[in-house]
């Protein structure tokens, strides 16, 4: 029963928090997107397509942030063998994979008018793609190993290996990009995350980013609650079958 002591507290706490989380997440994201779509002036070079940035950049932030979150949860799970930490890492992964996919798709849609092609092999896109593979591999380990406790530890080891590798992959891909940079690719320095970005464009971006972070935690809590209940049902069924 001690095992359930903390999940119980989590269920109570998250039940109290969730309505507020949803409200804040929806409010911030919608406010930011409203500003991005209707109030922000079009970019002098990129025109209206610059508005894609307000979905693209926050998704990229979330994709990295969620992998970092999974890393922390995995280490906690490995060291203290805490089932709630395992559940947090497991349930964060599909959300992270979705944000990575959204980032890649919006990047491709943005690339078409800007670069003239949906996909170019530039460093950022390529390392995002590798990050998506890392997410998929992580989900694959959870799906392939039937024993939950073993799956949790194997996935945690994979996540730690991935975090050790991400800086190396990112550096190597950037190094590769400087070698292979084709002269035909048109690059816009003014758009993406340039330090000279105007405050009127920066604020909506930060608001959407914060909204997405809250959205992540709202989704995560819902998924974790489902996972905890799923575990209970499984334990009850096992007890019934045994007794």
């Amino acid at each position: 029963m001690l095992r359930y002591a903390n999940p119980k507290r989590f269920l109570d706490l998250s039940a109290a928090l969730l309505p507020w989380l949803w409200l804040a997440a929806a409010g911030l994201t919608l406010t930011g997107l409203y500003q991005a779509i209707f109030l922000v002036p079009p970019d002098y070079q990129q025109g209206d397509t610059v508005r894609i940035m307000y979905v693209h950049v926050p998704s990229a932030w979330m994709a990295s942030f969620i992998y970092g979150f999974m890393f922390v949860a995995s280490v906690v799970g490995l060291v203290w063998k805490h089932p709630l930490a395992d559940a947090a890492a497991k349930e964060a992964a599909p959300i992270g994979a979705m944000f990575t996919a959204v980032c890649l798709i919006t990047g491709a849609l943005w690339g078409k008018p800007m670069w003239g092609t949906y996909w170019i092999w530039d460093a950022r896109l390529t390392s995002m793609l590798v990050l998506l593979f890392l997410y998929l591999g992580y989900l694959g380990v959870w799906a392939a190993i039937e024993d939950r406790a073993k799956a949790a530890r194997a996935a945690a080891v994979l996540c730690v290996v991935g975090v050790v590798n991400i800086p190396i992959i990112r550096f190597s891909v950037e190094w590769w990009d400087t070698l292979h940079q084709g002269p035909s690719v048109v690059r816009f320095e003014g758009g993406k995350l340039a330090p000279s970005i105007d405050p009127s464009m920066l604020w909506p971006l930060l608001i959407v980013g914060l909204g997405c972070t809250l959205l992540f935690f709202a989704l995560l809590f819902v998924r974790m609650r489902t996972e905890i209940r799923r575990r209970r049902i499984r334990a009850l069924l096992a007890a019934q079958a045994g007794g």
Partner: protein, 221 residues
């Protein structure tokens, strides 16, 4: 040390007697090299330009083919438990198995690579760099691959999952390896790519046995 060498010798003889040893990997290497001109057309300058990168990619794929058996057979017949119970630390056992795997896949590919590069019309000047970079870099395929193999040991359909787990780890090695050869062909000054490749190799040599042993212990517990 003698236990370590005994394990290497055991895996080598197993590879020679059951799996055809290095020849299976070489045959695969040769087959994909034959497929490249058939697929993209026999234009010699196109092939020559792609040769360095292509040989590195096929070396990675050749390593993948044999990786899913790295711990699988031992997990099935119980010798993995024996290894874990023995005096040899599990980390050293993982390292021994990686060494045997590299001796039967990476090393022969590195030695055969110049012949295949010749068939693909790779420009002169890259041959020494190709062999040297494969010798230094291909151990990463065995070492990083061992982490994936250990994570999927004992799974019924581990092979496909293994490739998904391991390929992201191969990314830097392929970049630096092919970069070394390209730099040598272009006569570029400095050997940044080669040094980075060697660094990745040493990094994997230190960390992969630890992570591989940790992953094996999960399945043994």
């Amino acid at each position: 040390m003698s236990a370590f060498l005994a394990l290497v010798r055991r895996d080598l003889s197993l590879a020679f007697r059951v799996g055809g040893g290095p020849f299976l990997g070489l045959a695969f290497f040769l087959t994909v090299t034959a497929l490249l001109p058939l697929g993209v057309g026999a234009r010699l300058n196109l092939l020559g330009e792609a040769a360095a990168g292509f040989l590195w990619v096929s070396a990675a794929l050749a390593a993948l083919l044999s990786l899913d058996r790295l711990f699988q057979a031992d997990a099935e017949d119980g010798s993995l438990e024996q290894l874990a119970l023995g005096d040899l630390p599990l980390e050293a056992a993982v390292l021994a198995k990686c060494l045997a795997h590299w001796l039967t896949t990476g090393l022969p590919l590195a030695l055969a690579a110049p012949v295949l590069a010749l068939m693909l019309n790779m420009p002169a000047g890259g041959y020494g760099a190709l062999v040297l970079s494969l010798l230094v870099g291909s151990p990463v395929f065995s070492l990083a691959g061992a982490i994936g193999a250990a994570l999927t040991a004992g799974l019924r359909r581990g092979g496909l999952l293994l490739s998904l787990l391991v390929l992201p780890l191969f990314v830097p090695v392929v970049i630096f390896g092919a970069g070394t050869v390209t730099a040598a062909i272009n006569g570029a000054e400095g050997d940044a790519a080669f040094l980075l490749l060697a660094a990745s190799s040493l990094f994997a040599l230190v960390l992969a046995p630890l992570a591989g042993a940790a992953a094996l212990r999960i399945h043994l517990s």
